[in-house]
Structures are given as C-alpha cells and as structure tokens.
C-alpha cells in the first residue's frame, strides 16, 4: 500500500495523471508481460531502461 500512496504522490507532484490508466492497464496485463519470453536477441544499446 505504501507503493500506491507514494506513486499517487508522485503523479500529483508531476501532474502526470494521464499516466495512470496506462499504468493500471500495464499492471493488469503485467502478469502476461512478465511471463512472456522477451526476444532472445541481446540488445546492443546503452542501458536506458
């Protein structure tokens, strides 16, 4: 619950309420995304994420 409170605080301060539906959908489908196998190709990229 601490996470939800802190994240809500964050959205309020940043005034980024429009991110909320995206995050809810992401968390809803989160299980699928987490379980899905990512591409086997190793990225050749700066660690942006």
């Amino acid at each position: 619950m601490e996470f939800i409170r802190e994240f809500w605080e964050f959205l309020k301060i940043r005034k980024k309420y429009w991110l909320l539906p995206i995050i809810i959908v992401l968390l809803f489908f989160g299980g699928l995304i987490v379980l899905s196998q990512g591409s086997a190709v190793a990225p050749f990229i700066y660690t942006l994420f």
Partner: protein
C-alpha cells in the same frame, strides 16, 4: 554521529559508499568483489565492505540513499514509448518485465535485499532516493577543494536529464538547467562506440584511444546531420539517425548510409582507417561541444572554478582541451565520474542538502586520493600468499622500493599492489601494473603479453607532481588521470617525412619521445600526477626510479587483463601475476619473482574473462 549509506545499482557500475558526519569513509565498486566487469547487480559485497570498514551495522545506519529516482525514470520510459508508439514495441517488451517485476517497487526490493546484511533491519523510512544528475553533481562539488563552482554533469541518461548545470556555493548546490533525453552527448558518443564495433557502456575508452590515429574527416558531416549545436553549446540530436529510443541498437540504416558502411562486427571485421577517422571525428565534435558549453557557462555565471562528473567527464581528452583553453581557473573532476560515483554523491547530497549541514572546505579534495577501497595487512597478505603456494621474500620498505625501482629500470613489467584500492575506473598506484616508459617495446609488450588487449591502446604515465611541468604541457594537479596533455617539445622525437606518411597503427612503432611507452601517436599522454600526501610509497618508488634513470615518469596501467575488473585481493593479484607475463609482483612488503614461482601454478588466465 550521522551515518549515511549511498548505493548505486541496477544499470551500470554498482557501488556503495559510506559517509559519516559528512566525511567520506569508504567506497567500492561491486565488480571488484564479484570479478564481473561493470557488474550492475545489487552491490551486496560492496555494502558489506563499507559497513565493515566503518565498523557499523546496517541497523545503525541513519539513512540509505539510492542514487536515482525510479518513478521518474519509469515516467520517462512510458512517455517515450507512448510518444513513439507503435514503434518501440521491441524495447518496450524488453524493458517492462523487469520494471513490473521489481524496478517499479524498488523501495520494497531494496528493503528486502538490505535485510541480507542485518536481519534486524526493517525500516523502509530510512530509504531515500536522490536524482541521478544531482548525485553526479554532488559527487563532483562536495569533495572538491572549491567554495564556489559551476558543476557540469553529462552522461548517457539518468531519469530525464542527460546534461545538467548546477551551481555550488558553500553547503548549497542548485541545479540551474538541464538537457533532456533523447538529446544526449553520452548517447551520441555511445552510438559511435556501437558503430565502430566496440561494446556500448565500456568501449567508449577504446574509441577515445583510437581517435588520434585518424583525421576528423566526418566531423562536419556529424554536425550537419546528426546534431544541432547552439551558440551556448546546448544541442539537439536528429532522431532520424538513431534507434535507441525505440529499438535495440544505437543507430539505424539512415545513420549507416550517411557514413557509407555497416556497423563493424568486432568478431570478423578489422579496425580500418575509416573507423579511426570516425573515432577522430566524434571525439572532435565532443570536445567542441564541451568547450562551447564551458565557455558559455564561464560567461553566464562568472565563477572561476569548474567541477565535472558523469560518464562524459571520463573523456580525459576533452577535459584536457577545457583545461588548455583556460576557460576556468581551476578544474576538479570526480575520479569515480561514472555511475559508481553516484553512490557517493547520493550520500553527500543527503548530508548537505536534506540535513542542511555546513560544509567546511579543507582546501584539498576530500577523496583521499580516491584510495577508498579495501586494504590488507602484511599478515593477511602473507597468509594468502602461502595458501596460493607463492614463493616470496619479505623486505623492508627501503629495500623493497630500491629493488622495484631497479627492476623497473631493467624493463620489467611489475604488478604493484599497495594500500587501499582505488574507487573509480582508474588504477592510481594502489592496484597498478607499472613499467619503464623509456623502453620502446613496453607499450606493445604490455598490451600483447600482459594485458592481452588491442595493440593500439595507449598507456598512461604517473609523474611526480613537481616534475610534471618539465615533461608535459601541464602545470596543474591531475591526481586522477583525467587530464590529457601533450609531451613537452624538448622530450619529443620529431617524425621524419617518411614516418609522417605512415597510417594508423604503423605510427605506433615509431619512437615518438623519450618516454615512448606513454606517448600516444599525437604526442599526448593521460597524466597522473603523484603526490606524497596521498600515496607516499608510490611517490617514493617513482622518486627512486628518477634517481636511477633521471626520469620521474613510470608507466601505470590497471592491474588486470582485458575484460577483468581490477584486482581487489592479494589472491586476485597472484592469479593475474601467474596468468600473465608479468615479471614481478610487489604486494605490501612482499616481493615475488616470476622465475622463482612453481611453474605448475601458471594458468591460461585471460580466457576466464569475457572480452570487453
């Protein structure tokens, strides 16, 4: 006493630092313990080390500060993917699992991981999050010897910022302006690192080392197409040529067509003059931007001191140009300028900016020469060497230095392991391989027989501070090997017309100066000034070498082979000694000769490490 633990982790070089009442007590990178280069995992061992060194339990720590803000980073990721959709799905699907599994819930994850150190620790209210570039800026300003400074930080990207300008004044530090993702000098340099076939995040050094072999033929093309540079040095990258916001490579087809070649495949393609010219071009563009930014900052703020941090601050050639242009009166660069140093900056920013403590500037920097890592007593070393089966002599300091200086003057390659390990990417005489710079074959031999790395890569000189002006075009401190400067004219050997016509790596075989092993093909050198106050033993060694040879300069390269993190323990040092063609190992007061060792202990060593 207020005890603050700083942590950087999960992206690049994980590290931990401990600050007690504002004093930097210890700091170390995780890679040194796990033996995995640029280890980005949770820095369990580094945290254990700093806690043990400070003799503090985790539950006694007052605040734990992570070096960046995960929510803000997540915001950047989501906004970028939304802006680019439907492109970017490949990167999105790679990034999201780890974010939804753990990174988004970093506080909880950290709390659970921290419990490994002390089961009684269970207070999430002690965990705080600094900002990536604020951590860099704090690491550059608070340990610096200045009361007031402009602080410039530049790297790939943190949360949103890629370049920031801050002003430090007394105990205060305020970020004044930022350039945001995707416009990034660090990412531009990394794009060319990728294009020339080196590993992104670690091969940037190689690109910088390759640059002097080429001509900046493509600099104009880069400035015309890839980057728009404004009068004050701020810039925008033309995203048409890059792939990093959406894809899994740094550059795209349009970029490759612009320069006329595909990215080099390091497994099958050789480095050609084209790659050297590309390296030279991007290096020139980087230097021009950094110099432009610095000039405009000097004019805007009229402050005479500059502090630098962030990965771009490890570009010592650009740093040398800023110094040479005399834009600022004084420059100080954080030795752990990359993300490892963020752990230290996070802790310091909390102490000064959140707890509002007063800063007492000691007028010398507070980094202890960057010797902030583990050390070993002679008793510990002896025990480990016996366990390893080593044959050694124990010598008093004076004899040890005499013998080592004598070996150096006989062109031996020597492993030098003394005192506390360095914090940051450079070996500064604590965990170094040293040699005679006057020897014409030293560079080639060290590269090919000891370090097993590419022959084009230069070595750096350690020079007595009082003699630097006699040998190099530099009369300032450069204790952290982060300034490049030219060899003095009188020490140079001018090339003949025939030699000047040689291309690329062939130039390396020419004896370019009195100290060829540390003279790059453009007569430059990455200088470390050695100070009696911070490393007396190393200072005495070079002084003795000078007595014997009249040369106050020695070769200093990190104690490791290609792809291996710098050695941390006496055991690591002995393994590296036996796995390479090093002639001697000097470790604490123990002196080892290769020819006296049990030859069955020799191992094929370099294959243990993945090439970088």
């Amino acid at each position: 006493m207020i005890k603050i633990l700083g942590i950087s982790a999960f992206y690049h070089d994980s590290a931990a630092a401990i600050v007690v009442d504002g004093k930097i007590i210890a700091a170390a990178q995780e890679e040194r313990f796990t033996r995995k280069k640029h280890d980005s995992g949770y820095p369990f061992n580094a945290i254990e080390f700093v806690l043990n060194f400070a003799n503090i339990k985790l539950s006694e720590i007052d605040s734990i500060v992570f070096y960046e803000k995960p929510f803000l980073k997540f915001e950047r990721l989501l906004e970028t993917y939304v802006a680019m959709a439907p492109r970017g799905f490949a990167q999105f699907s790679k990034a999201m699992p780890s974010w939804l599994r753990e990174k988004l819930f970093q506080k909880k994850m950290l709390l659970n991981l921290l419990k490994q150190h002390d089961k009684t620790f269970n207070n999430s209210k002690k965990i705080f999050f600094s900002e990536h570039h604020l951590s860099h800026a704090a690491s550059a300003y608070f340990p610096s010897p200045f009361d007031e400074a402009v602080i410039l930080t530049a790297d790939g990207v943190g949360e949103w910022a890629t370049t920031t300008v801050a002003i430090g004044n007394g105990s205060n530090l305020q970020i004044k302006k930022e350039i945001h993702f995707p416009h990034s000098l660090g990412l531009l340099y990394s794009a060319f690192t990728y294009y020339t076939g080196f590993k992104v995040n670690s091969g940037e050094y190689k690109l910088m080392g390759l640059a002097p072999y080429g001509e900046p033929k493509y600099a104009e093309k880069i400035e015309k197409n890839l980057i728009h540079i404004k009068e004050d040095g701020s810039f925008r990258l033309n995203q048409d040529f890059f792939n990093y916001t959406t894809g899994l490579t740094m550059t795209n087809e349009k970029f490759h067509n612009l320069f006329g070649q595909k990215p080099r495949d390091s497994k099958k393609d050789k480095i050609t003059q084209f790659h050297m010219d590309i390296a030279s071009s991007i290096q020139k563009v980087t230097e021009d931007i950094m110099v432009k930014i610095c000039k405009s900052l000097r004019e805007e703020f009229n402050i005479s001191n500059l502090c630098l941090a962030g990965g771009v601050a490890l570009n010592c050639v650009a740093n040398g140009k800023i110094l040479k242009e005399k834009i600022f009166d004084n420059i100080w660069i954080q030795p752990a300028a990359g993300d490892a140093g963020g752990s230290l900056g996070a802790a310091l920013s909390y102490w000064f900016l959140e707890l509002n403590n007063k800063r007492n500037n000691s007028k010398i920097d507070d980094m202890n020469g960057s010797y902030l890592g583990p050390s070993f007593s002679n008793e510990q070393i002896e025990k480990i060497l016996i366990e390893c089966g080593a044959k050694f002599d124990r010598l008093e300091d004076d004899l040890l230095i005499e013998k080592t200086a004598s070996d150096l003057s006989n062109s031996h390659a020597i492993g030098w392991f003394q005192g506390r390990m360095e914090f940051g990417p450079r070996a500064l005489g604590g965990r170094s391989i040293i040699g005679d710079p006057r020897s014409p074959d030293m560079q080639k031999n060290l590269n090919l027989k000891v370090k097993y790395r590419e022959s084009f890569r230069p070595f750096a000189p350690s020079v007595l501070r009082e003699d630097v002006g006699e040998w190099f075009e530099l009369n300032d401190d450069s204790p952290y090997m982060l300034i490049v400067s030219d060899i003095k004219n009188e020490k140079k050997n001018e090339m003949t017309e025939k030699e000047k016509k040689l291309f690329g790596i062939d130039k390396l075989n020419i004896k370019r100066s009195d100290i060829p092993a540390v003279t790059h093909v453009d007569y430059s050198a990455r200088i470390q000034t050695v100070h009696k106050e911070t490393n007396e033993k190393y200072y005495k060694l070079i002084k003795k070498f000078k007595e014997k040879t009249n040369c106050p300069v020695i070769v200093n390269t990190s104690f490791n082979v290609r792809g291996e993190p710098i050695v941390n323990t006496p055991q690591d040092a002995f393994n590296c000694f036996m796995g390479t063609e090093l002639d001697n190992l000097v470790i604490g007061n123990f002196y080892l000769e290769k020819k006296k060792q049990d030859q069955s202990l020799k191992k094929k060593y370099q294959e243990k490490f993945e090439l970088d």
